[in-house]
């Protein structure tokens, strides 16, 4: 397997063959009645084999659209992948035919969705649905696929899988259904598992179980994991590396320790500060002031500048891109000198932020 050696923003000293997925300058736009929404506006990142990566950001920041673009599951139109490359094991997924892409989905890249209550087809048993996924990608008889479905259910900690496999989704609880979804996703041993808010619809105790399960199967199978979430607690639990997204861009990258303990980007810092902690009893909750900018009318400079407590002169004028950033892990003029701006960056040291106390 050879991967064309290229320079990307995340300059990791990893061997090329180690890189499983490389997203380069992905731009996904939605053409709607009122104009064009740049849901993903120039996103680049890499995922190494077996790496766990978290994609974090508010609702509507483009996390899910990034994932759906990788899977090529967006309806085109209204969506359009305006530019970019998604290199998976040396092949550009955006250049594949629909037929070739079908073999990638489920087989090489699997995905778990947010709503386990509606992600399973109500008219088929869970066994039917897992067996279907298996038979799409492997030359197995119905009986073999069915046995594989039972094994998959066992592997995600479902008791009595021989009985469960014959049940319909409406007979299962939310947590149980999410286990089934995970079993289905893992039934073909994918190299990359994309989990889009896998625990958001579940209650807290079940969330913990499902996260533990995802971590556990990731350990066992060695699949790479891309976890999409708005919940920083979930990120801290599950992944090694974090990408923070804001308004269609990646604004900060780093290991989970760096990003969560000593965030650089003011947005990341704001996210962390807005988590209520025990020491804050009796105080008002911290919020990031303002709202995400209107997608039809993005600010000229930094997208976050209107809400940023540290904004200074260049922020309103110049648009920081993480591709051009130095240091390369944060897109912010506090760190990178703005081009053509006479104002020097005001580098702030990484400051620990208390989380959860």
């Amino acid at each position: 397997m050879t991967v064309p050696a290229t320079v990307t923003s995340s300059a990791r000293p990893a061997g090329d063959s180690d890189i499983l997925l490389e997203v380069r300058d992905l731009r996904t736009y939605f053409h709607v009645l009122d104009g064009t929404v740049k849901a993903v506006d120039g996103v680049s990142f890499t995922i190494r084999r077996g790496q766990t990566i978290g994609l974090v950001g508010e609702s509507g920041c483009g996390k899910s659209v990034t994932a759906l673009s990788i899977m090529r599951l967006l309806d085109i139109p209204p969506a359009e992948i305006a530019s970019g490359e998604i290199i998976f094991e040396g092949r550009d997924l955006l250049a594949l035919s629909e037929e070739e892409m079908r073999h990638v989905r489920g087989n090489d890249i699997a995905m778990i969705f947010q709503e386990p209550m509606t992600s399973l087809n109500p008219v088929y048993t869970v066994g039917d649905q897992i067996a279907e996924a298996v038979m799409l990608h492997q030359r197995l008889s119905k009986k073999e696929a069915w046995n594989k479905a039972i094994e998959a259910l066992r592997a995600v900690g479902i008791n009595n899988p021989e009985r469960r496999v014959k049940q319909y989704p409406h007979e299962l609880s939310g947590g149980m259904r999410q286990r089934v979804m995970i079993a289905m996703a893992l039934s073909c041993d994918p190299k990359l598992l994309i989990a889009d808010e896998p625990t958001t619809a579940l209650d807290v105790t079940i969330q913990a179980q499902i996260l533990e399960l995802i971590k556990d199967v990731q350990d066992r199978t060695g699949t790479a994991l891309m976890l999409i979430t708005h919940d920083l607690g979930v990120v801290a639990e599950t992944v090694h590396d974090v990408l923070v997204m804001y308004a269609g861009r990646i604004v900060e990258t780093g290991t989970v320790e760096d990003v969560l303990l000593a965030p650089k980007h003011p947005y990341t810092e704001g996210l962390l500060r807005s988590i209520p902690s025990r020491g804050m009893k009796g105080q008002r909750l911290n919020v990031i002031k303002g709202t995400v900018p209107n997608p039809f009318n993005m600010p000229k400079g930094c997208n976050f500048a209107p809400r940023c407590p540290y904004a200074f002169e260049p922020c309103a004028e110049y648009d920081p891109r993480i591709e051009d950033a130095n240091p390369p892990d944060v897109a912010c003029w506090l760190y990178t000198p703005a081009p053509g701006s006479p104002v020097p960056p005001r580098v702030r040291p990484r400051r620990p932020v208390e989380v959860g106390a």
Binding site: L73, P77, R102, V104, R105, G106, N107, A110, M111, F113, E115, T118, S119, L120, N121, P122, V123, T125, E132, A133, L136, H137, G157, N159, N160, R163, R164, K166, Q167, Y168, E171, S173, M176, M181, M184, A185, C188, V204, T205, Q207, A208, Q209, L211, E212, K215, D216, D231, G233, V234, A236, E237, T238, H240, V256, E257, L260, L261, R278, V355, G356
Partner: protein
């Protein structure tokens, strides 16, 4: 990762993965599929059961009537009471017309053709309607637009005019052209319904999830969406049967229907016109009742099916 100090309180205490025994009660319950659940709900629908009963009688009549009473329905029978016709409460059942034809034998024989016309019309309409509606709703865009304008076009065709023209082309009273015309004009409303169902179902998360495991378009449309749309389709199909039976009666009454020697309920009704003046009320009454009862029964059945097949039903 396991000794990270970063755990949030929400996710810090992770319980073992396995189900506890307490949740296993679900396993003990019997698993029912879509049809078994529907049957349970259907059984509780009284009117629907009445409808099934009436339909059962009609189907029995259609299949076995002419075998049990093997008389030529058009033959004049000397053994039946004379030219004045007869009170239906006496023998033979349903009385006879003035020439000694048995109304009962006529109705029993008519059931065959009327039911045949109803069901074949429905099959044609369902095939076309589901196909066109599914393609339009599934693919959307210009395909949808094109097909739906075609639906508008078909809906704008004056039905009687087509029957008249067809009578000229194929010769009046041919059975097959009549059924074809019925079928070819009955599908548009079903196509609209199926389109709407596909439009909403294709946005469902389980469709996205199926795509994410690599299921192709055709399989999504047939295996994943269609079974979820089957309830409204079945209900609509029953109504098409009822409608076709009425249509046949209507067209036959106008003498654009079947030939005189083809016995259907509509035909029998048409033939009775001049008899009403004579006072032989049973001559139109029984074919008319057969039509009315069958249509009502089918509507009851459709009503029951609608409730039974509704996946949102909580019963």
């Amino acid at each position: 990762m396991s000794d990270q100090p970063l755990r949030s309180p929400a996710t810090s205490r992770v319980t073992p993965l396995t189900d506890t025994a307490a949740t296993d009660y679900e396993v003990a319950l019997e698993s029912l599929n879509q049809w078994q659940l529907a049957w349970r709900r259907f059984r509780r629908h009284r009117l629907a059961l009445v409808g099934v009963g009436i339909l059962g009688v009609m189907v029995f009549l259609a299949i076995f009537g002419p075998i049990i009473w093997p008389y030529d329905p058009l033959a004049l029978r000397r053994d039946l009471p004379g030219p004045q016709g007869f009170n239906p409460l006496q023998m033979p059942p349903f009385g006879s017309d003035g020439s000694g034809r048995s109304v009962f034998v006529l109705v029993a024989n008519g059931a065959r053709l009327s039911m045949l016309i109803g069901t074949t019309t429905m099959l044609i309409a369902v095939t076309i309607g589901v196909l066109i509606g599914a393609i339009a709703g599934f693919f959307g865009g210009w395909i949808d637009n094109l097909l739906m304008r075609f639906v508008d076009l078909v809906l704008s065709i004056p039905f009687l005019f087509i029957v008249l023209v067809a009578a000229r082309f194929f010769g009046a009273g041919e059975l097959v052209p009549l059924i074809l015309i019925f079928g070819l004009l009955s599908w548009p409303s079903l196509a609209r319904l199926v389109r709407a169902l596909y439009l909403s179902l294709r946005e469902q998360e389980f469709v996205l999830a199926a795509r994410a495991v690599g299921v192709g378009d055709l399989r999504i449309a047939l295996r994943h969406i269609l079974p979820n749309a089957i309830g409204p389709i079945v209900v609509s199909a029953t109504l098409i049967v009822a409608n076709a039976i009425i249509l046949e009666a209507f067209v036959s009454y106008l003498n654009f229907g079947l030939k005189a020697q083809d016995i259907s309920w509509g035909n029998a009704l048409a033939r009775s016109q001049e008899r009403i003046a004579v006072g032989n009320w049973w001559w139109p009454f029984f074919p008319g009742m057969a039509i009315a009862l069958t249509v009502i029964a089918i509507n009851f059945l459709g009503d029951g099916l609608r409730d039974a097949l509704d996946p949102r039903s909580k019963e």
